[in-house]
């Protein structure tokens, strides 16, 4: 077994175990951390496929930002595990059906000729091949319209999320940083001249 396949099996094993622990861990914070581990191993697998941009972007976006916010939310939940498990068996048939359906679909897709081991010829990239550059070239030339469209949809989604949750409260005092900076000492301090002692009547 060469180094590449050894690395593949190590990464894949850890990833599968981590992914299983995501759904079996009792504590949601542990589940999130196992998901982070799974992402790291997925990044490693992509590195083995020489997709270094995707691998690093996965860690940067998912581990570095998305999962941090996830953890932020999950940590603040006050979770009663007993109450969570109460509906387990009543939801089981639906969940199992959906799971089997997904499994069957994936098996159907992956077993076709398009995804077989022989579907992709061994492709040796030239030494100066830069994954990042190639992706950038494709995104901004051949696929520029879909790319821009996707980014506009995301932008709209961000604005919508902000607008939907924006509540203007009128009962709080707000600060105006510009006014704070523009303040002079004469606005805050008044020097009063007065005699030190009261004059005797």
């Amino acid at each position: 077994m060469d180094l590449n396949s050894f690395a593949f099996y190590v990464l894949a094993t850890v990833m599968i175990v981590a992914a299983l622990r995501v759904i079996t861990a009792r504590n949601p914070a542990h589940a999130v951390l196992f998901l982070v581990l799974a992402f790291f191993n997925a990044g490693g697998l992509w590195l083995l496929l020489q997709a270094e941009f995707l691998a690093i972007a996965l860690i940067m976006v998912y581990v570095g930002a998305v999962m941090v916010l996830f953890l932020f939310v999950v940590m603040m939940l006050d979770i009663d595990i007993k109450r969570l498990r109460r509906g387990f068996w009543s939801n089981m048939p639906l969940a199992a059906t959906l799971g089997l359906l997904l499994l069957a679909e994936m098996a159907l897709v992956l077993s076709t000729d398009y995804f077989g081991a022989t579907a992709f010829p061994d492709y040796v990239q030239p030494a100066d091949y830069s994954n990042t550059k190639e992706l950038g070239r494709l995104l901004f030339t051949d696929y520029v319209y879909p790319f821009e469209l996707a980014s506009i949809i995301l932008l709209v989604a961000i604005i919508v999320a902000v607008v939907l949750t924006l509540r203007h409260r009128s009962d709080v005092k707000r600060l105006d940083p510009a006014a704070q900076i523009a303040v002079k000492h004469t606005d805050r301090l008044r020097i009063i001249q007065m005699p030190a002692e009261k004059e005797a009547d």
Binding site: F53, I59, G64, V68
Partner: protein, 363 residues
């Protein structure tokens, strides 16, 4: 470099006449040994730098506040970091009863590991990087963004209120300032046309001012001056240093995520914080101040210039800490989202237009 190290080894072991036998044994694993030697050559000076950074910080802040600073252990207090280190080493690591034991002990590791791993792509001099990655900038952004997990897990696993508040603050602050850091770097990438840290340094060695002999005028700090400020200030916020140290905020939440930690576990967070400070200084030097390049053409380039530039920024870290009061939390968020992100979003298209115009200086 590899050859001269090998020659030195050969000379040393030949004193005993053992070199040939030894080399026959070592040759198959030499590449691994060579990498380990390079890692040690980076990490040992780094950790020494961290140790003396704590000493220097206390001295500088002492002087700025009209005090003397540490002066008891060794000459001028120079052995103070080692005294502190030994003290922390021999102290017990307390494990709170209600803490999550695994995560509680994992957190310091997760804090220090990215802080050290990220040094593998730093080019100290021409060709002097452990890994000359083509996606070096992405690697730096990815690994530094992982550092926040140490703080968050520490805060959560302690099962205590102040650490938890610290973790929440840290999560929000790190995610916010990463955005402005990344956007500031986009400008640098555009003008250097590369993601490789060495190439980014080399790209700063071109231009009109360089040909006139004043090389420091053609570094990125001048054309990208707003990005230079945004990056450095975001870097201070990312490392949770004053005036952005609400994560620790001793006067508000005792010591944030580190409240429940003692001994070496506490020291790990400390090491990580200082290693990250030194790293931000190194990154600012590479992205905006031409890394190992000499500021004038009559002096040779070299690693000493890189260290000199880092020293300036490290001093600025301490200077800011001694000068400014802590930001209020909402002010931190405002600065990140409402000042830095818009400044970056304006400067990126501006740089693009500049590069497409006839006045492009980066050809």
């Amino acid at each position: 470099m590899e050859q001269s190290v090998l020659a030195a080894f050969a000379w040393f072991w030949n004193l005993f006449g053992w070199w040939d036998a030894l080399w026959a044994l070592v040759k198959p694993v030499w590449p691994v040994i060579w990498i380990i030697i390079k890692i040690v050559a980076i990490l040992v000076p780094l950790l020494l730098g961290v140790a003396y950074m704590t000493y220097w910080e206390r001295k500088i802040i002492g002087w700025m506040q009209g005090r003397i600073g540490p002066n008891r252990v060794g000459l001028w207090g120079l052995l103070q970091p080692f005294a502190d280190g030994i003290k922390l080493f021999v102290k017990e690591i307390l494990l709170p009863t209600k803490a999550d034991p695994w995560l509680f002990l994992l957190a310091p590791v997760l804090a220090i590991a990215p802080a050290l791993a990220v040094w593998s792509v730093v080019p100290f001099f021409e060709g002097g990087a452990l890994a000359n990655l083509d996606a070096g900038v992405l690697y730096v952004l990815a690994i530094t963004s992982v550092g926040v997990y140490g703080v968050i897990i520490a805060g959560w696993a302690s099962n205590s209120k102040y650490p938890f508040l610290g973790a929440m603050r840290s999560a929000a602050q790190m995610v916010s300032y990463e955005i402005s850091m990344g956007l500031a770097l986009v400008c640098v990438l555009m003008v250097s046309n590369s993601l490789n840290l060495s190439d980014i340094v080399r790209a700063q060695d071109h231009g009109m001012f360089r040909d006139w002999g004043v090389k420091f005028m053609s570094w990125n700090w001048l054309p990208l001056f707003p990005m230079f400020l945004v990056y450095f200030i975001s870097g201070i916020a990312e490392t949770n240093r004053a005036p952005f140290d609400v994560v620790e905020g001793e006067s508000e939440i005792v010591a944030g995520h580190m409240v429940e930690y003692s001994g070496m576990a506490f020291a790990m967070f400390f090491l990580a914080e200082y290693a990250n400070m030194i790293f931000v200084a190194a990154m600012v030097s590479i992205f905006f101040l031409g890394g190992w390049l000499s500021p004038v053409s009559f002096l040779p380039d070299g690693i000493l210039w890189f260290f000199a530039k880092m020293t300036i920024f490290l001093f600025t870290f301490l200077w800011l800490r001694a000068t400014f009061p802590r930001y209020r939390y909402d002010q931190i968020m405002r600065l990140g989202w409402k000042v830095f992100v818009p400044v970056c979003l304006v400067w990126i298209p501006l740089t693009g237009i500049w590069m497409m115009s006839p006045f492009n200086i980066w050809k």
